[in-house]
């Protein structure tokens, strides 16, 4: 069989059900082979960036490896943003790109780019397949590397003549990679050391990140928190890894975190970091981050431990496996004093906003939560709306938030919602909360959404501005709003309707109260343009250079 046919066979063996992609000259043989597959559904996107973001959304929701195909040259370069996004958020993807025939490589041929070179810093690994016979091994390895350890994107670049070459197909049953053996099991002596520290701690806080979701450790995290009476704060990536309505939940920490989460970190004497990487938006000023705490850091990626802050107890391994070992060693300690302090902080510094002037975005998110009670998959774009979702929506189930964390990639939301909807059973609630800046970056994917008959509800929080940057200008540029106020907007309602999507506009709280439940329950896709005040800022926020204990609550 040809390499292209073998590739499709490999994908079927890896139980790939959906691939996202965009055809082109260099991937012609692959698409021709795909034509004959009865098991794999191909989703034609409208731009390769949409394809990789959709595969990313699909992977985040399903927990499976997302797959995307693009042609050589511009097809490949259009993937770059999406690959970087998946790399930053540790999302397992396998990307296939076409390449010019081997003999033309290095000649600046038509639609030639060195995509393995370009993606070197943003892939977990990548391959330029020069030897046709290696295809099955390379694909097997790629899926293994993408999905295991700390997950991430892997790219395979296939020259057109390689795709056409004839090979005898044998799919390997095992993976042999002598340079890649992730550590899952935590060191027993470290685990008992942690148990002892937990026993002694008076004011423990659990700081949980995306690793909890990646290792499916939400249940163990809940058990740990309850067993040791420790409040839990989530990183943005960790949201939905702990029940948002639980009394021990502190919400998100960091730059736009709750004041009580940030103050709990500042006051704690034991900080247990689980699958989190002490990102700069979390830590803010290193010197005033958890200044009184003994730091325990559990992560599957050894390079994250000690990278940002000094750790007292480093432990490499899988969060779920480690927590399972740790739980039986935990002794119950009375921490009522600490929990009372936490309650006092929560009462003293609740999240709040002023409902006086116009339809507030926070109100919309609160109503969204009231309507769904957390039984929905929320996809967001990047900007103020994303932070309001993080603050005001209470996530209930793991993987019910899909958002671009590390890269902060505007334009992620719409295509990711396409992928998310395809990963879920038909009829599931997928809600995209987006901004007027973000949605215009990938708005062409509305066509993909309609073509696939997906039931996505789009809530556009429209302030006619690039709100987050506008807010930064407010604080750091003395209110000089350079290039952040849109002077022109399309008629979003008409635009959605042009794609065949029922569309509405909300302008008042009453519109939301009356219209939102019906909007969410309507069959099929729907779009609502919510007109919100331009001046609204995301608060609280930690001013630049300050510690996380010093957030401000008003502009």
């Amino acid at each position: 069989m040809t390499v292209a046919e073998a590739l499709i066979e490999c994908l079927e063996r890896e139980n790939v059900e959906i691939v996202f992609g965009y055809p082109g000259g260099a991937v012609l043989p692959i698409y021709d082979a795909l034509y004959h597959s009865t098991k794999i559904k191909h989703v034609l996107v409208r731009h390769e960036q949409g394809g990789v973001h959709a595969a990313d959304g699909y992977a985040r929701v399903s927990g499976k490896v997302g797959v995307c195909i693009a042609t050589s040259g511009p097809g490949a370069t259009n993937l770059v943003t999406g690959i970087a996004n998946a790399y930053m958020d540790s999302v397992p993807l396998v990307l296939f790109t076409g390449q010019v025939p081997r003999i033309q490589i290095g000649t600046d041929a038509f639609q030639e780019v060195d995509i393995t070179g370009i993606t070197l810093p943003i892939t977990k690994h990548n391959y330029l397949l020069k030897d046709p016979s290696k295809l099955p091994v390379v694909v097997k390895n790629a899926f293994h590397v993408a999905a295991t350890g700390r997950p991430g994107p892997v790219l395979i670049d296939i020259p057109k003549d390689v795709a056409q070459a004839i090979i005898s197909f044998k799919y390997p049953s095992t993976v042999k990679l002598r340079g890649y053996k992730p550590t899952y099991k935590g060191h027993p002596s470290k685990i008992s050391e942690i148990a002892k520290l937990v026993g002694k701690a008076k004011r423990p806080v659990i700081y949980a990140g995306g690793g909890v979701l990646a290792s499916q450790a939400s249940e163990e995290l809940l058990k740990l928190a309850e067993a040791i009476s420790a409040p839990v704060t989530n990183t943005f990536m960790g949201l939905a890894g702990f029940p948002g309505d639980h009394p021990l939940f502190l919400g998100m920490l960091g730059l736009h975190g709750t004041r009580y989460a940030n103050l709990a970190i500042t006051e704690c004497d034991l900080l247990i970091g689980l699958g989190a990487r002490f990102d700069d938006r979390v830590v803010m000023n290193i010197n005033s981050f958890a200044p009184h705490a003994t730091v325990v850091h559990i992560d599957i990626d050894p390079a994250e431990i000690g990278k940002v802050i000094a750790t007292n107890v480093p432990l490499v391994g899988d969060v779920k496996m480690i927590l399972k070992e740790l739980l039986p060693l935990i002794e119950k300690v009375d921490r009522s004093e600490w929990l009372e302090r936490i309650q006092a902080l929560k009462a003293q510094y609740p999240l709040s906003y002023d409902r006086e002037s116009g339809l507030k975005p926070q109100f919309i998110i609160e109503q969204l939560w009231k309507c769904t009670k957390g039984d929905a998959t929320i996809v967001t774009d990047v900007g103020q709306h994303q932070m309001w979702v993080a603050q005001y929506y209470h996530f209930k189930k793991p993987r019910s938030l899909v958002s671009s964390g590390g890269l902060g990639c505007m334009g992620f939301g719409l295509p990711a919602s396409v992928g998310a909807a395809l990963a879920l059973p038909p009829g599931s609630k997928v809600i995209l909360v987006t901004g007027d800046g973000s949605i215009q970056m990938t708005i062409q994917e509305l066509a993909t959404m309609m073509e696939q008959c997906l039931n996505v509800k789009i809530i556009l929080l429209n302030n006619s501005a690039l709100g987050m940057v506008r807010q930064l200008q407010e604080y750091y540029c003395e209110g000089r709003h350079m290039a952040t106020h849109f002077q022109f907007h399309p008629d979003f309602e008409a635009l959605a309707k042009a794609y065949g999507i029922p569309a509405y506009t909300f302008k008042t709280e009453e519109d939301v109260i009356k219209g939102l439940p019906e909007f969410l329950d309507s069959p099929g896709p729907a779009f609502v343009n919510c007109i919100i005040p331009r001046e609204e800022n995301v608060l609280p926020m930690v001013p630049a250079g300050k510690g996380i204990g010093e957030s401000v609550e008003c502009g």
Binding site: P121, L128, V145, L177, D301, A303, G306, P314, V316
Partner: protein, 175 residues
């Protein structure tokens, strides 16, 4: 700040040098010297990388290197007794009248003449970085026309070795 010599065993595959060099560049790690060549096994290359930094820095370098799929094994051989060598070739200006004098200097450094021109002498010399530096300085007054160094290669002393056959598990110990 001390210098650390890392012996890194890597897959002998295309692009592996780019992966390692690219990692150093994007993480802001400075390479003092890097020498690479294949080992006794065709499928394994060995890089000798010299980096300068404190312990946490070297630890981060090592951990990041480990994340590369093509990196099989890393040993910080500076933590043990080791020998290291560098090879230099120097072409120096040498009028016939100066030849004896220059060759006398070369003799002190046990350098060998590898080529003779009408007005030049070319030497090869192996040794530690310090010796090579001293040799270079001794020839400088005569006029160095060309100089090329291999970068340091290094090996553990005694019966210890950095090789795949006895490679311990690649799992990172929770040190």
């Amino acid at each position: 700040m001390e210098k650390h010599t890392l012996a890194v065993l890597v897959e002998n595959s295309p692009g592996v040098l780019t992966r390692v060099a690219g990692l150093f560049a994007r993480r802001g790690f400075n390479i003092d010297s890097l020498a690479v060549g294949r080992t006794d096994r065709d499928d394994v290359s060995r890089m000798t990388i010299v980096v300068e930094g404190d312990k946490p820095f070297i630890e981060q370098v090592t951990k990041q290197l480990h994340k590369l799929i093509d990196v099989i094994k890393i040993s910080n051989i500076t933590e043990d007794e080791y020998v290291d060598r560098e090879l230099v070739m120097i072409k120096v200006t040498a009028e016939p009248s100066q030849r004896v004098e220059i060759m006398h200097i070369a003799g002190i450094f046990r350098a060998r003449v590898v080529d003779l021109g009408s007005k030049t002498l070319t030497f090869e010399c192996t040794g530690t970085e310090g010796k090579i530096n001293a040799f270079e300085e001794s020839l400088r007054p005569y006029g160095i026309k060309e100089l090329v160094r291999t970068g340091k290669i290094a090996m553990l002393r005694g019966s210890k070795y950095v090789a795949l056959s006895l490679a311990p598990s690649r799992e990172v110990e929770n040190a």
